[in-house]
Every structure is written in C-alpha cells, then in structure tokens.
Symmetry: C2
C-alpha cells in the first residue's frame, strides 16, 4: 500500500510513540545540568519544522538563562497564582495550594516561544477566515519541541498561569508579538509514569472511546472494529 | 546525567526526529485505501496523550467518512477560498489559484478535532488568565496525531480555509464546542521532500538562527557554540 521508503522501521515508530506516551509536563524533577548547544539546537530545529499556516513560521524563541529576567517572570506567576487559588474552596483549595505548578527558577533554562502576528504580511495563505491559526501554528511547534526534549531525556513544563501582557513587557516584545508559551526546560531525574495532576488526584484520563464520534457530533461509530480498538487501552503501538 | 531508563536508543530518537522532519501538510497525494481500525486507534490515542491545561483533555474527534457531510464541508471551503483568492493580485493571484489547498473528497477520511470550551467546569487549573489555553491544548493533540500518522505512512492535511461557524453547524456541534482543526487523512503515494508551499515558490523556510534571541527580545545569544549549532543546517539529529 505504501512506497517502501515511506515506511518507518518498528524501532523508529516505537521511538515516536514512546516520546508521545512518556512526555510529561514537568515542574519538580529538574536537574541543574546545562543543555549542550548541539542538543538545544536540535530541540529548536524540531520546533522550527512544525507546520504553519501559509508556511508563515510565525515563531521566535527567547532563551532565558538570566536569573534577573526569570525572577521577574516568577513574580508575574506568583501574582496570577494567588488570584487563581481563590477560585477553589475546601478540599480542592487545599490540594491546589499543595500542587507545584512551575519550575521557573529550578530549571536551568526558560524558553518563551512567541507568535509574530504580522509575519508574512496582511494576507497569509490559509489565514483569512481564522486569524488564530498563527497562534495554533506556534502550538504545533511547542509540541515538536516537547517531544524532542523527551527523546533527549529533557523535561519541559508549560507555565500557563501568567499574565501575557506583563510577560510581553518583561521580555520587551514588540506590539505585534504574543508570548504563546513560557516553558521551563532541563534534564530531569525522572519522568513520572503518569501525569502529575493525575497522580495528585486532581483529574483522571478520560476514556478515549467516549470522545470519538461518527460523521456528526454525538453519532456512534459505524465500525465495531474501531470501537473495540479504541476501548483496548493495552493495545501495543507497534508490531500489529 | 540521566537515569538510564530515561534514555532513548539512537533508533528511537531517530524515529521521532524523522517524523518531525518528514511530516508534510498533504493535499494531493492521497490514496483511497482505508485505514485499518488498529492503526486509526493508534493515531487517536496519540492525540489523546497530548498535554492539556489542567489535564482538561478538551478534545473530541469526529471521524467523517460520509460523502454527504464531506461535500457540505467542501462547499464551505469553496466559498471561503473564493473570498481568499481576492486578496491576491498579479502573479501571486495566478499562483494562488493554481495551488491545491485541500483533499476533502480525495482522502478516504476526514477528521474534525474540536475543543469543548466548557469541559472541566468554570475553573480549570492553569486556565484562569489565558482562556485560549484550551484551544492551544487541542493543537498539541493535532501535532501528536500528525506525527504518528507520518510514522504510519499516512498523510494529514489541515484545511484552515473554512468558516468555523458554518462548519460547526454542518457537524451539529453544541454551542460550547469549537472546531479547531479539520483534517484530511489517508495513506499517500509519496511525502514531498520539502513543504508544498516551498516547492511551489510561495515562501521559503526562514533561517533558524535569525529567530532565536538571548534573554530578551532582540538580544543576541551569548553562547557562540549555540549560535554555530543553529547555523549548521546539516547537523545530524542523532549520533552526536
């Protein structure tokens, strides 16, 4: 069915699926060891090879080692997190305050991946109806980097509790540039077997088969074989 | 530096980087062969293992084989694309009209990946400041699926020239559910060596080193070794 040179070997396929399965949002396991330049370049190149609407490549990468800058970012996080904590009551509030949600200072490197909303001029191919497609493209780049990092034994944590305007000011972003992702990056002493929020009892993974619809929203799948495959949580990624 | 069981083998690492490098936005090379249920389940499970803000997993997957539904979606695309084409003049307009930008009917399967903006209740952990983080999470799921598809010899094309309200109506999405990505999926007879828009002369890949900043926007990198590594477009992904 496929041309032979399209095919991945089992171990190549295994590598991709392993990165997907074992990638974690890391907050607590960072080691201080610096990331060697060739490894860091591979991570950034992985991000740069993401798809983008109209091939606009709207991303930039700000590598932040400066403790002064990181302390300023952490102060933004702390203000936002105090506000966020007020949303919870009772047991949930206790659990929320116990969760560690960022590693801005413990990780050896922070990385802000931005979106230049003006890149490519006013008419970017494919971006006429949905203007947010440039932000979506940057997210695809984030995921490439996140997976590549896992394959290198490097953890990544996305700090989403942050005010983007304050962050943009701190990093001196031009007006048209939006900070999509603020990431903490570094080698780790372990990758947790399950997502940290699941381990902490915050939320569970949803059953996949409940999220798949046939042809229209809410319609069941017509293919019983697919339904069974979706329910089989133990299905191997390769060899079948 | 790393625990031994964190490490990927060279061929595992190679598999991940190969998927990243060889993934394409496919519009023209689709084969009609159906995707076997176990393979399709692997793709959806890859998407489902994406990170999401507060572990909210806001995605649903609508698998569309129905020709009737696909024809309705293609009609939405055609209306939008006529509008889009009017943005270009002269040579660019000629080139734009020559580009093939979707494979809705030629691919054997369409997949809409949606975002349930109400999933997880009003206070999703990490989503208090930036409400779009749920859409961003869905994009991360899209990229997982896109890479897994490449490893399986399956092409994916994202149709971004589409009116999301009309699409939501056609697929009968509930009010709180937004259609983030409309994808065309199928085995392909080839993956192009370079992105189709680059081959067509629409736009070129930007040099990576020009997109990387040190500590603040516009500041140079302090590490000459990293600067050199970023400029080395031929650097191997593994073995170094």
């Amino acid at each position: 069915m496929n041309e032979p040179d399209n095919r991945f070997s089992e171990s190549e396929r295994q590598g991709l699926y392993r990165a997907i399965r074992e990638r974690r949002d890391v907050r607590s396991q960072f080691l201080p060891d610096p990331i060697p330049p060739p490894v860091l370049a591979r991570l950034l190149r992985a991000a740069h090879h993401a798809p983008s609407v109209g091939f606009m490549q709207p991303w930039d990468f700000i590598l932040i080692e400066s403790l002064e800058v990181r302390r300023a970012v952490r102060a933004i996080y702390e203000r936002e997190n105090r506000k966020a904590a007020e949303n919870y009551r009772g047991e949930e509030a206790v659990l929320y305050r116990r969760l560690k949600l960022e590693g801005i200072l413990e990780s050896p490197l922070n990385l802000c991946i931005t979106c230049d909303r003006g890149r490519g001029g006013p008419h970017v191919l494919g971006r006429n109806t949905i203007l947010e497609t440039d932000l979506f493209s940057v997210c695809l780049a984030v995921q490439n980097l996140w997976l590549a990092a896992r394959a290198e034994g490097i953890g990544v944590g996305w700090v989403s509790i942050i005010d983007p305007d304050e962050l943009a000011g701190t990093l001196r972003l031009p007006a048209a540039v939006y900070p999509v992702a603020y990431l903490c990056i570094g080698y780790v002493n372990e990758f947790l077997a399950r997502p940290e929020l699941e381990v902490a009892g915050w939320r569970s993974r949803l059953p996949l088969h409940g999220l798949v619809h046939g042809n229209l929203w809410g319609r069941p799948l017509e293919d019983a074989g697919l339904e069974a495959a979706l329910r089989d949580e133990q299905a191997p990624d390769v060899g079948t």
